[in-house]
């Protein structure tokens, strides 16, 4: 029991990354009604990009920011060049494209970066020497890098909320998310907002991927699989159109994952639960929530017009 706080603190940083990637999913879903199945692999590609920039002598933090900027542009290009024309055909077409992108982007990383399969070293974004932590109580420590990730995500989230609530662009995005026709009739260029949604989501994903790589001290082709899974689980749990839901969902899942991974040694059933069952546990939680609230905890139920 003495370790509870420790596990929670550890879980918060991973959880904040899930929240971040989940936010990226929510931004696209709210703005366009599409699910970007390739969110994780686009983030992976950007993270490899950050590695590459860093490998050429640019300091890590600057590389990460630059990669996010390139991801921003890339996301907009993907929306304009692939998603928009596909969306004109059918929503089914968009699903196919994002699944194709999932595979293509993952493989592209493998093609462009030698040793991507085994992994490339990624520096830590925060001080992470063995003694870089904040001792909270006797046994509980909070490592600087975990604090750093959490704070970074909170800052990004805060900026996003400010953007949505206080700026004209944010208002336009909320308008398009709620009622695209009325948004057009109010003078909003919905196509530009759609592009912006994808661009922002790609940048957010890029930052998330870099944070993960920093925590893991490396990046490889499989890095984003479980992150995307848990992030999408978080978004599902919270409601695909709810930014607040993404945050709550992400943090909760991070903590649950941490508890499930660490506690079982004390539990009698520990042979069956363990490190890798976090996902199964998460899945069960989400299933139960969705049975009660099919649109997620904070999501708005879709009313179908017949």
């Amino acid at each position: 029991m003495g370790h509870l706080l420790q596990y929670i603190l550890n879980g918060l940083s991973k959880g904040s990354i899930y929240s971040l990637i989940a936010l990226g999913l929510v931004v696209i879903y709210r703005g366009t009604g599409h699910l970007n199945f390739a969110q994780g692999e686009m983030a992976l590609f950007a993270t490899f990009g950050a590695w590459w920039i860093n490998d050429h002598g640019v300091p890590l933090w600057i590389s990460v920011v630059l990669a996010a900027m390139f991801a921003f542009v890339g996301g907009g290009v993907i929306e304009f060049g692939l998603i928009r024309p596909a969306g004109k055909k059918s929503p089914f077409a968009v699903i196919v494209i994002t699944i194709g992108l999932f595979q293509a982007m993952n493989s592209l990383c493998g093609l462009l970066f030698e040793n991507a399969g085994t992994g490339l070293p990624f520096g830590s974004l925060f001080p992470n020497e063995p003694d870089d932590f904040w001792r909270i109580t006797g046994n509980t420590v909070w490592r600087y890098e975990n604090i750093g990730v959490l704070v970074t995500v909170l800052v990004i989230t805060g900026l996003l909320f400010a953007l949505f609530q206080k700026t004209r662009v944010g208002l336009a995005m909320r308008m398009v998310a709620n009622n695209p026709d009325s948004a057009k009739l109010s003078g909003v260029s919905t196509s530009r907002i759609l592009m912006l949604s994808w661009a922002m989501s790609a940048a957010i994903g890029s930052l998330g991927g870099s944070l993960v790589a920093g925590l893991n001290d490396g990046v490889n082709l499989a890095t984003m699989f479980s992150v995307f899974l848990l992030a999408s689980a978080a978004a599902t749990l919270g409601g695909l159109d709810s930014p607040l839901g993404a945050i709550v969902g992400g943090l909760s899942l991070g903590v649950v994952e941490s508890l499930v991974q660490n506690y079982p040694d004390d539990w009698p059933a520990h042979e069956y639960i363990g490190e890798d069952t976090a996902i199964a546990v998460a899945f069960l939680i989400i299933l139960v929530v969705l049975l009660l609230k099919p649109a997620g905890l904070f999501g708005t139920p879709r009313v179908e017009r017949v």
């Binding site: 004209r168 208002l171 308008m175 109010s186």
Partner: protein, 242 residues
């Protein structure tokens, strides 16, 4: 009365949805400073006409606004030129607060034009005190009549020269509808706002109208001043109910 100048002029408008053509060459116009009403039954093409004018659907033919051809213009640019629409069903931003809805209406006012936004919002709050009461509430929680007032205010926040109203009385109680048309009439007489209204139930609309058009299965079958149309027996029986 000075020679009427057509603020909006529509010639040979053809529009539809996919393979279904709804409008077959529609001709009508709205004079500057006047109220025009299009009467039509269900399926006649009223909403299609409004959507076509605002650029929301594919259309062919000629639409001229204040001398400028807007037949190929994008919807957001048409708003910037001075045409605002209150769509059918009001099109409220249900998840946004009342005040955000008003701000949404003012979206096109950037730069110098942005200075009057707060003052205009206060003005609408004075005209519709209930909106002021509910200014931080989600717009979706307002009643039908309140949403209609909000929709009109929202449309007018962009300071348009022409206001399009698609079946504004739909779903409203008779008393609210009377209030509504009184307000529209005042907006026209006091501010010189040009208004185009499409309606099914026409009594109140025709009372504030300068010109009336009758739309039947995609084209105008009769037009004239309000008095002329009210004097037309068959139209009166079909659309005005007496």
């Amino acid at each position: 009365m000075s020679a009427a100048h057509a603020l909006l002029d529509v010639r040979g408008l053809v529009a539809g949805y996919g393979a279904v053509q709804v409008l077959h060459g529609l001709d009508m116009s709205v004079n500057d400073g006047e109220v025009a009403v299009i009467l039509g039954a269900n399926g006649a093409g009223k909403t299609t006409t409004m959507r076509a004018i605002s650029g929301m659907i594919q259309r062919s033919g000629t639409i001229t606004f204040d001398g400028q051809d807007i037949s190929r213009t994008a919807p957001n640019d048409i708003v910037r030129l001075g045409v605002a629409q209150v769509p059918q069903g009001r099109g409220t931003f249900t998840d946004l607060s009342v005040s955000d809805n008003l701000r949404a209406g003012a979206y096109t006012r950037t730069g110098a034009k942005a200075t009057g936004i707060d003052a205009d919002m206060r003005e609408w709050y004075e005209i519709f005190p209930r909106l002021h009461e509910r200014r931080d509430q989600k717009a979706g929680s307002l009643s039908g009549g309140e949403q209609q007032m909000l929709a009109i205010s929202r449309a007018l926040m962009s300071k348009p020269r022409l206001l399009l109203c698609d079946e504004p009385s739909l779903g409203l109680a008779p008393i609210i509808t009377q209030e509504l048309f009184a307000i529209l009439g005042r907006l026209n007489s006091e501010r010189g706002l040009s208004i185009l209204i499409v309606e099914q139930n026409a009594n109140l609309a025709v009372k504030i109208a300068h010109s009336v058009f009758v739309l039947e299965t995609g084209s105008i079958v009769a037009s004239g001043t309000a008095e002329e149309i009210a004097g037309n027996d068959s139209v009166r029986k079909a659309y005005l109910g007496y």
